[in-house]
């Protein structure tokens, strides 16, 4: 399932996939895979992404 919340949060901060990838120390393809729902990140990576986006884990990764 696509992670549209992540994409929206990233877009809100005007960050590209590459920018976010650089900030959290992964490849752009990994961010792309997470947004597409092709890859489930570890809790460490989830936390790093949330910190960079200024969101909580629930806001980005919890399914309603």
């Amino acid at each position: 399932m696509k992670n549209l919340k992540l994409k929206a949060a990233r877009a809100a901060l005007d960050l590209s996939q590459q920018d976010l990838a650089d900030k959290v120390g992964v490849s752009r393809q990994t961010i792309n895979a997470i947004e597409k729902g092709d890859y489930n990140p570890t809790i460490n990576l989830c936390r790093a992404i949330c910190k960079e986006l200024g969101k909580t884990l629930d806001e980005i990764f919890w399914e309603e």
Binding site: S16, Q17, Q18, A21, D22, G25, V26, S27, R28, Q29, T30, N32, A33, Y39, P41, T42, N44, L45
Partner: protein, 369 residues
């Protein structure tokens, strides 16, 4: 550039130079022994139902105890070693016996056949030996010989009956080419020449060094968690591909089909297939290149290796070094390498095209590098 990287490069360079200098020394210590203890080639003639000469012999020396392969070949003119098994003994009109004796005239090996083409492995002690071909054109001659040299009179009589001599079919001049050689076990070395071994080792080390120094040994290269996960899956897939291929090759070998090529050719094919599977899976799952690593440099490097190996492979093919006596030799490795890198190059390009199409059709904001 970090100090640690500079030190690493210096160490690698020194190791490479050391390997370059020491490899020939290594082979000087382990110089392959003379392969053939003795090689002998001549011919006999059948003329007006008379064999000329009636026997032939040659001496050879063994200086180290061990297993040796005795190779006997006595093939009528016009036949080759593959068709000789179809020639029936009585059809030749005479029988040949090969006897190997030691310096005390003790028989250490003997074989009786019509036309002969065989390899046999026997254990020999150091000393002088003699191999003799005897030709017998009738039962009496054979009986006298067999009862004297090979067995008792009762067995010799039975053997002479079993052979069922036919009259000479040939009544003109027929030439039989015969050959004998004694090969030590060391003749089966994988590397037949020092220069080839040296070239392969230096090439391998040089390749690793160039790749490490200029392409892959970059500072700060690392993979993220998804890439490491995908690499693990790729490794598993590559391993099972190699496993299945090796098993298939063993079955082919047992069924006799694998005789069309030397063993290294098959096993290298299995390794290359496993490697190819690993690399293709990694490329396709975007886990081949490290974070922020540019693929263009690697693409150029792979194209260079592919072209280089392709050229060497074609040159080998033109010079007839890949297929020798109907068998594929290990010189096909260059073509293997070329195929491997061409496939990897093609997959890299294809992935680039797919990514660029995806990024233009999706609303992704980046293009793949």
């Amino acid at each position: 550039m970090k100090k640690s990287v500079i030190v690493k490069k210096i160490i690698l360079s020194v190791l490479f130079i050391l390997a370059l200098l020491l490899t020939p020394l290594l082979f000087m210590i382990k110089t392959p022994r003379e392969k053939n203890t003795s090689r002998w080639s001549s011919s006999i003639e059948i003329k007006d139902r008379t064999l000329s000469p009636q026997s032939n012999s040659i001496g050879f020396n063994i200086d180290k105890a061990g297993e040796y392969t005795l190779y006997f070949s006595m093939i009528p003119e016009g036949y080759d070693k593959d068709s000789i098994s179809k020639v029936k003994t009585p059809g030749l009109g005479f029988i040949t016996t090969v006897v190997v004796t030691d310096s005390s005239e003790n028989v250490v090996y003997s074989s009786t056949q019509g036309a002969i083409f065989l390899d046999t492995v026997i254990f020999l002690q150091p000393g002088d030996y003699k191999v003799t071909y005897y030709y017998h054109s009738n039962e009496d001659e054979f009986y006298d010989f067999a009862s004297t040299y090979i067995c008792g009179s009762k067995e010799a009589s039975q053997m002479a009956k079993d052979i069922n001599f036919a009259s000479f079919i040939e009544n003109g001049t027929t030439v039989f080419n015969y050959e004998f050689c004694c090969l030590s076990k060391e003749a089966g070395l994988f590397f037949p020449s020092i220069m080839l071994s040296w070239g392969m080792i230096v090439g391998l080390l040089g390749g690793i060094l160039v790749a490490e120094l200029f392409f892959f040994g970059k500072d700060g290269k690392k993979y993220d968690e998804r890439q490491i996960l995908e690499q693990g899956k790729a490794f598993k897939l590559g391993f099972f591909t190699m496993f299945v291929t090796v098993e298939a090759l063993i079955i082919l070998n047992l069924s006799g089909i694998a005789t069309i090529a030397d063993y290294p050719v098959f096993y290298q094919a299995a390794i290359f297939l496993g490697l190819m599977t690993y690399v293709i899976y990694c490329i396709w799952t975007e886990s081949y290149f490290a974070i922020n690593e540019k693929s263009t440099r690697v693409l150029i490097f792979f194209a260079f290796i592919a072209v280089l190996n392709l050229v060497i492979g074609i040159v080998n093919l033109i010079h007839g070094q890949i297929i020798v006596d109907g068998r594929i030799t290990f010189r096909i490795m260059n073509l293997y390498c070329a195929i491997l890198f061409i496939v990897i190059f093609a997959v890299l390009l294809l992935k680039r095209i797919v990514n660029s199409k995806k990024s233009s059709s999706d609303d992704d904001d980046e293009e793949d590098d």
